[in-house]
Subunit: 320 residues, 2 copies
């Protein structure tokens, strides 16, 4: 098995770069001091990092899975502003013992996630390290709408989500227990599939505030409530639980709770948004509550939730 320690940096880049997708906005691609892009409108930019053993495990995720996830969670951040993603910059740190195939797989996963959206990997950097770290900066641009922040929800708005929740956590629970009972959930954990474009759709329908659900509905809705200085009241009976989460919970027995996974699980990357009235909510989205004057906090079924999603700084279980 050839490892990246067996190759020099230029040789590795020569294998890696041609697998990366090109951006529709690209004027100059990778290989120079910087890439050059055409931007039409406001530039929207976000960054996320994935660290081995914290955000992914190599026993569970292939290089392509990690590339897919690194791209998708960043595309979702751009989408959550109501913007259109155009390009990624990717830095990869990896031990010399990392198989070349793992690294080339990462490029393939980036391509598979980005290419359907015209998004390119326009540059980056490679370095040795003692563990794998993938850092992605995503760029996008607004197309005729103002960027949608988390801060502009208004009292009386309805709260909605763009997809069913809990599948990623259900997949994680299976892998953690070494009991694979529902392959769809496992795949949605390894390769989250938010509908990129849902955020733009929300913006075009007049969303007042929006974010993507990366750390779980409870934690993220609490953030939106605080940013907008409103009380968000969610009715758990309205929260759409992904069928794969329900199937997984049923198959694993009484302990696990599909609704709890939908509320706190995270990593689904669907949109959470507020709209001025129910009739503005796009088809396919689900209303889960409403915004009120009051304390800047989240209520679930009338009470403040205690479970907060999770904290990526914990030294505890890698959750993905």
């Amino acid at each position: 098995m050839t490892t990246i320690g067996d190759m020099d940096e230029d040789a590795l880049i020569a294998l890696f770069a041609p697998r990366l997708p090109a951006s529709d906005a690209e004027i100059l691609g990778p290989g120079d001091d910087a890439a050059v892009l055409a931007v039409d409108g406001h530039l929207v930019v976000s960054a996320d990092v994935l660290v081995e053993s914290r955000h992914f495990r190599r026993e569970w995720s292939t290089g392509a899975d990690v590339g897919w996830r690194a791209a998708m969670q960043n595309l979702a951040d751009i989408d959550a502003m109501g913007a259109v993603p155009t390009a990624l910059e990717v830095t990869l740190c990896a031990p010399a013992s990392t198989p070349v195939d793992w690294v080339l797989g990462l490029a393939d996963g980036l391509r598979e996630a980005c290419e359907p959206h015209g998004v390119g990997v326009v540059g980056g950097d490679l370095s040795g390290a003692s563990e794998i770290v993938v850092s992605v900066t995503a760029l996008g641009e607004t197309h005729g709408t103002e960027p949608i922040t988390r801060a502009d929800a208004a009292a009386g708005d309805v709260v909605a989500v763009s997809g069913a929740l809990g599948a990623a956590r259900a997949g994680y629970e299976q892998l953690a227990r070494e009991l694979r009972v529902d392959e769809e959930a496992v795949q949605l954990f390894l390769r989250p599939r938010p509908r990129i474009g849902a955020g733009l759709e929300g913006a075009l329908h007049g969303a007042t505030a929006m974010m993507d659900l990366s750390d779980g509905l409870v934690r993220d809705a609490g953030r939106l409530a605080r940013a907008s200085e409103l009380e968000l009241a969610i009715d758990s009976a309205l929260v759409p639980v992904h069928p794969a989460a329900t199937r997984t919970a049923d198959a694993l027995g009484a302990g696990p709770d599909a609704l709890a996974w939908a509320l706190t699980g995270g990593e689904d990357h669907h949109m959470l948004a507020t709209f001025p009235r129910a009739s503005a909510v796009p088809q396919g989205w689900t209303i889960v509550g409403e915004a009120h004057e009051g304390q800047a906090r989240l209520l679930v079924d009338g009470a403040e939730p205690t479970s907060r999603g999770w904290d990526h700084f914990d030294s505890g279980t890698p959750q993905g």
Copy 2:
């Protein structure tokens, strides 16, 4: 001593974020899913990663030194396109044992390097990890000039550099030998000081090809030669050796060679560019050679050099 493992992520961000500089181009700063920037012209984007024990050592560099260097090498990449830097995205991975002061120092170093140029840190991400990894993506925009790549040097062009070379390597040599004989060189290793704006100046003077000197003149000029498919001939007697490199070499004795450091040392981040004629070269730059039809290679004093700078994928000595 408080470490970042003693704090939760939100509390750390609440201390870290206010120390970061704001961008002149900022419409929406950090804290949402993404930042929003105004862009006027082409967008220029580049990324670099710094890994503990490979690109810096905590015994040598404070958090502020690392923040400074992470910013400066990225600003130089944007400058090397003839563009004006506007904003950075920064992801930081660090062990739970990292002192909070080190992390806050990183923010201070980013600010000190960026603020004079109106460059902001507009977003990023934090994660635990087993070693410190700082990944920076820099954004900039062209102001009325075309981006200057490495590929458009022409036969007959003169080759010039925008500053004296070898000081960073001279600083490294002192730290590696635990013999501090010239503090200016040490400081230029810990905090490289390329003149940001030299690249734009080169572009306005009609530079045909340009890059910043990160891996040493020999290695980087070889890259420019290959990208432009020309022979670059450098006369080592013309290469400007930084006085601090000369002083360091003199003080350390016969072995070290200030000219060799200037040729292969790297990390100075001055500009290397080609111009159509000597009279086009901006004041303060130094002509070091010329471009010819011929093999796509670098010649130094008529011969192909064997020393190549260094390879960041080596498991060998961390060089900065």
